[in-house]
Symmetry: C2
Subunit: 334 residues, 2 copies
DNA sequence: CTGAAAGCGCTTACAG
DNA sequence: CTGAAAGCGCTTACAG
């Protein structure tokens, strides 16, 4: 591997000049710049990023905290893969790489912050793991730029990206109402999660706006996973006066609910209409097709990248970014 | 951020001694070691990894090449997420981090190799993207330890991890035969992919072993995606003498095939039995449940991590690792 | 068991 | 527009 010194010697200049060509090209004489560039290409010179980071204190790396918990499957974000692609793409367009941080090895609350400091990471993105994770707090309170997905975290250099959960839930209920349904139940996410709480709020708000009565027994809590939707739907079907429509706060739960309806010998959408949230792949695949509120999958990654880079370069903390959702109508609402 | 010099000064030792405590602890006096360790904890000293990498030429980082192609969805490995978790976990247990490499920004064939060199990566793992990617060749031919998933790549420091595709395919056919089927078709993956080619080979081998005739019209090529399975199944159903069983070389295609059977007014497994490959989540969810050959999802990540670390530390290139598959019987074969 | 010193490959005021 | 020099924070023979 050629170093900056060899390249400088070959070109008859100092290494400071070579350095400038790569960091501040317009400041050096055009001819020598071309000479250096072509010689660099010829001998295959590449700046050593470790040396660069040591000198500048900027690594051009952003950490990704995606706490998968060694034993339990951990929180499966409904579109983790899309977020990852969006994030990676948007970061790399701006010259940043993504370092996947290992889950708090030693269990100490500042293990993530320590990893960030050791590796001179310029910023961090974390994907909600659905639990209260104490390791995030020291990071959020630090001087490290952080952006959180789907979970509000407090800190001077911390912001978050989330969907318009309230608006989406309201649209779900409005759509069910518009198709003639009047007894609208909901299967919620866990109340402690932000999406869970907000989608419930949207449901309640829209019920009120439409002048529909709120019947507490029509609200059943799930955990975003399929089987909880199945169980919740069975409970709803056993009510004295069962619903004619259900808004499930996540597509997986909606698919579970769909199965429960079928198993009970009823039909979707004839007997029960169903709306989910997320627009996961399965939503289009499961007959008769699941009507749902699509989240802006690519937008999450892009917005997170933009936010963290703004903090790194701009020195300001951007406001939280609320991404719009969009209703995708399929067979489950007729 | 405290540096090694401050810590050394505080303890009344040289920075060389502090360095030894973190790299070669048994070589320093127990008392001073304890003093240094406790003082380090007190002042929150953390070794700077960039400086370390610069001095040692080892970054303790492994690159992940997962070429997602900006526009098209790219190759969706059937269990990318599980591989990623397994890899990350296994690497972090050995003290390595995972750096997601940006897709060949400039399109030059050595862009990955350059990224590896710039960042002093100790090794690289790549996930098959289903295309011939010329950027992998320069890497594979270099001195950088590489492990490839599902695709054999040649190089002095290169090995790969894959499933026993031939054995799995043979077991699929044997299972169908054991449940009384005699006209067994297959929907293959693309012939240019290793899993595609090998699973077809297993199908043919087992047919021969069972003394069943090979009828070329019973072999239809798909592309591993759902809709290709759907189309292939429709073609099979239109044959003069349609099959009574189908082995689809991937679960997504099997689900597409299942749909085609249902749409044709036929029943699975009564009219047509179906076996897939992969054991993706959907396999258990789609009625009547898809019989399939499960790949060892966690094993991929773990084996890849083990292989790359062996090359990094051991200085030998391990043999390719072939992971066993296991038959999971569900409703689609009765 | 420990320290002084050189070196890893960059960047960046400073001076010209 | 360019160079000499100091510095970034570590590690590692070498000598004791």
């Amino acid at each position: 591997m050629a170093t900056i010194r060899e390249l400088a010697r070959l070109c008859g200049v100092s290494s400071a000049t070579v350095s400038r060509v790569f960091n501040n090209p317009e400041v050096v004489n055009a001819q020598t710049r071309e000479l250096i560039l072509s010689t660099a290409a010829r001998i295959g010179y590449l700046p050593n990023e470790s040396a660069r980071t040591l000198a500048t204190k900027r690594s051009h790396m952003v950490g990704l905290i995606w706490d998968t918990d060694h034993r339990r499957p951990g929180w499966r974000h409904p579109f983790f893969q899309e977020i990852l692609i969006g994030l990676k793409t948007a970061l790399s367009e701006r010259g940043y790489h993504l370092l996947m941080l290992a889950t708090s090895e030693d269990g100490t609350p500042d293990s993530f912050l320590r990893a960030v400091r050791r590796h001179n990471l310029d910023g961090v993105v974390f994907i909600d793991n659905g639990r209260a994770d104490p390791s995030l707090q020291p990071l959020a309170e630090s001087e490290v730029p952080c952006v959180s997905l789907d979970r509000p975290v407090q800190g001077p250099w911390t912001t978050y990206v989330t969907s318009d959960n309230v608006g989406g839930a309201r649209e779900a209920v409005r759509h069910l109402h518009a198709t003639g349904r009047r007894t609208i139940a909901t299967i919620t996410g866990p109340a402690r999660t932000r999406p869970g709480a907000e989608r419930l709020r949207g449901y309640l708000e829209e019920l009120a706006a439409l002048g529909l009565a709120h019947r507490p027994e029509l609200v059943v809590e799930g955990d975003f996973y399929l089987s909880s939707g199945h169980a919740a739907m069975r409970a709803l079907l056993e009510l004295e006066e069962p619903p004619d429509a259900v808004f499930a706060a996540g597509d997986e739960m909606a698919v579970g609910a769909l199965r429960a309806v079928t198993e009970a010998g009823l039909k979707v959408p004839e007997d029960i209409a169903l709306v989910g949230f997320d627009d996961i792949e399965l939503a289009a695949l499961v007959p008769p097709g699941l009507t749902t509120l699509a989240q802006d999958k690519a937008g999450f990654g892009t917005a997170a990248a933009a936010a963290v880079i703004t903090m790194i370069n701009g020195g300001v903390t951007p406001l939280p970014r609320i991404l719009p959702t969009s209703l995708v109508v399929r067979g489950s609402t007729g």
